[in-house]
């Protein structure tokens, strides 16, 4: 019963979030801040993980494809497909849910327990709209670029792994990534990313905004928000894949 009540409160919260910003200049300023906080500051970790996971995917594929009947270019093809379809949009979103989700919950939660949100409301500010809308817009419109970067670096990491280990040649890998290119898969990945970005911005905001207590509860809410954001992403991934590719 409590879960249904929480889901109801979450949707009521969204009703308050998606209202016209009270002052566009203030909204613009907050939006740029959030693009920096949620997007630009995540580039380092995304680049690092993408490059190395791309490399690992390529090496593992190469090690499992040892039959002489299977052409080597399939390593590049498999690496490309797994990175574009799952690794970049879903795995990156789970990582961002951990990094950005805990940041959102703890920052909004701390504002709640130190009465800063009350201060906003007393001033006549729609606190949900002011705090959450810039995060949603920043995440939904910026994360697709992060995921495109993750795709590029993941594939590049795969190529670099072959180059460094000698398990497959550069030409085979490039032939594989060029083979059977299907642009809809990129669209599918970006649609998923935008949906996940919405979840990453709103679910942790919900946990932060409605936290009660002190710093310990804020910590607990951060953990819960990461867990629930990840669960929602995994579930939505299942349904979106069925809807968009099924």
């Amino acid at each position: 019963m409590k879960y249904f009540s929480n889901i109801g409160v979450y949707f009521l919260m969204l009703g308050q979030v998606f209202k016209k910003p009270q002052k566009l200049s203030v909204f613009r300023e907050s939006l740029f801040k959030e693009v920096e906080e949620l997007g630009l500051k995540s580039l380092g970790i995304v680049a690092f993980i993408s490059f190395f996971v791309g490399g690992v995917v390529a090496i593992q594929t190469a090690l499992n494809v040892d039959s002489p009947w299977i052409p080597k270019y399939l390593i590049g093809f498999a690496t490309k497909r797994s990175i574009i379809l799952e690794f970049a949009p879903t795995f990156m979103s789970i990582i961002l849910a951990g990094k950005v989700g805990s940041y959102i919950t703890s920052s909004i939660g701390t504002m709640r327990v130190t009465e800063q949100i009350d201060a906003l409301e007393v001033m006549g500010v729609n606190a949900l709209n002011y705090l959450v809308l810039p995060k949603v817009v920043a995440a939904v419109f910026f994360y697709p670029f992060i995921v495109l970067l993750a795709m590029f670096l993941g594939i590049f990491g795969g190529w670099a792994a072959g180059f460094m280990t000698g398990l497959f040649s550069s030409d085979d890998f490039i032939t594989g990534i060029r083979m059977d290119f299907y642009p809809y898969l990129i669209r599918y990945a970006l649609i998923k990313t935008m949906v996940f970005a919405f979840v990453i911005a709103t679910v942790p905001s919900y946990f932060g905004f409605y936290v009660k207590g002190g710093s310990l509860e804020v910590g607990r809410a951060s953990t819960q928000s990461v867990v629930w954001t990840s669960i929602v992403i995994i579930l939505l991934n299942y349904f979106l894949t069925q809807m968009l590719l099924g």
């Binding site: 009270q22 002052k23 200049s25 203030v26 504002m111 130190t114 009465e115 800063q116 009350d118 201060a119 409301e121 007393v122 001033m123 006549g124 500010v125 729609n126």
Partner: protein, 252 residues
């Protein structure tokens, strides 16, 4: 004038306010006192519109809160200033940005005009050279003064303070009390302060409301509070050793 008419507020089974009625006048500093759990904070939050009373009504200069739309309620809040117990300053923003925030949000003033206003209110609360500092870099008393500056930057009609002296030394507490009183007189605001600091009550309590278990037990002023024979009030007032001694000396 703020008229509070018979308000009730409960949280689940727990009844926190039980039919409180009173009025707050322009240019007057009113204190709400009572021990912890007496309903002071909930009462103040009802006055601020952060909690909606279950029944009863609050009327702000003829405007009934219960009959207001959401946007009217938001507009009403622009006429309110609030000093929170912990200051509630935005800790990731500078003092200047903290005070400028309501101006940026609700006025079309230029940067220069906003800066002039920020400097004016900072000067009014006797703070200098703090514009680019962050709240954590200031002492508790200075943070309270910044909170007062932010609360008055929009020239509010109503000023609410929740325990403005908590955590301050007695001398700084007197400075803050006097500042609130001066500002109330100067801008002819309606000021309501939540406190259990009897020194503050004696300094600036032109009107005092004593709450006990969510009921208004007594109403008077700092001139009458020592003369009352209401047992709950005298128990509260003379709970500190200092006031007990003052009473003994006074009675001798």
């Amino acid at each position: 004038m703020i008229e509070v008419n018979d308000i009730y507020k409960s949280f689940g089974e727990q009844e926190v306010l039980k039919g409180v009625s009173t009025t707050f006048e322009k240019g007057e500093t009113s204190m709400i006192i009572g021990s912890s759990g007496s309903g002071k904070t909930v009462f103040l939050k009802c006055l601020l519109g952060l909690f909606a009373p279950d029944s009863g009504d609050i009327c702000y200069d003829g405007r009934h809160y219960r009959k207001m739309s959401t946007s009217e309620k938001r507009d009403l809040r622009k006429e309110m200033g609030m000093v929170f117990q912990g200051g509630a300053l935005f800790d990731s923003e500078t003092i200047e940005d903290n005070i400028k925030f309501p101006l940026k949000m609700f006025t079309d003033q230029s940067e220069e005009e906003m800066l002039d206003r920020v400097n004016f209110v900072l000067n009014r609360v006797k703070l200098e050279n703090v514009n680019q500092k962050f709240p954590a870099e200031l002492s508790g008393g200075m943070q309270k003064r910044v909170a007062i500056a932010r609360a008055i930057v929009m020239n509010p009609k109503y000023l609410f303070c929740d325990e403005p002296n908590s955590g301050l030394d007695p001398q700084t507490a007197i400075v803050i009390d006097n500042l609130i009183q001066e500002i109330t007189d100067e801008y002819q605001m309606i000021t309501v302060i939540n406190s259990h600091d009897m020194n503050s009550v004696m300094e600036i309590g032109e009107k005092i409301i004593f709450l006990k278990s969510g009921i208004k037990e007594w109403e008077g002023s700092y001139k009458t509070i020592f003369k009352t024979d209401n047992q709950a009030v005298t128990d509260f007032v003379y709970s500190s050793n200092l006031y007990k001694k003052v009473r003994e000396v006074y009675n001798k």
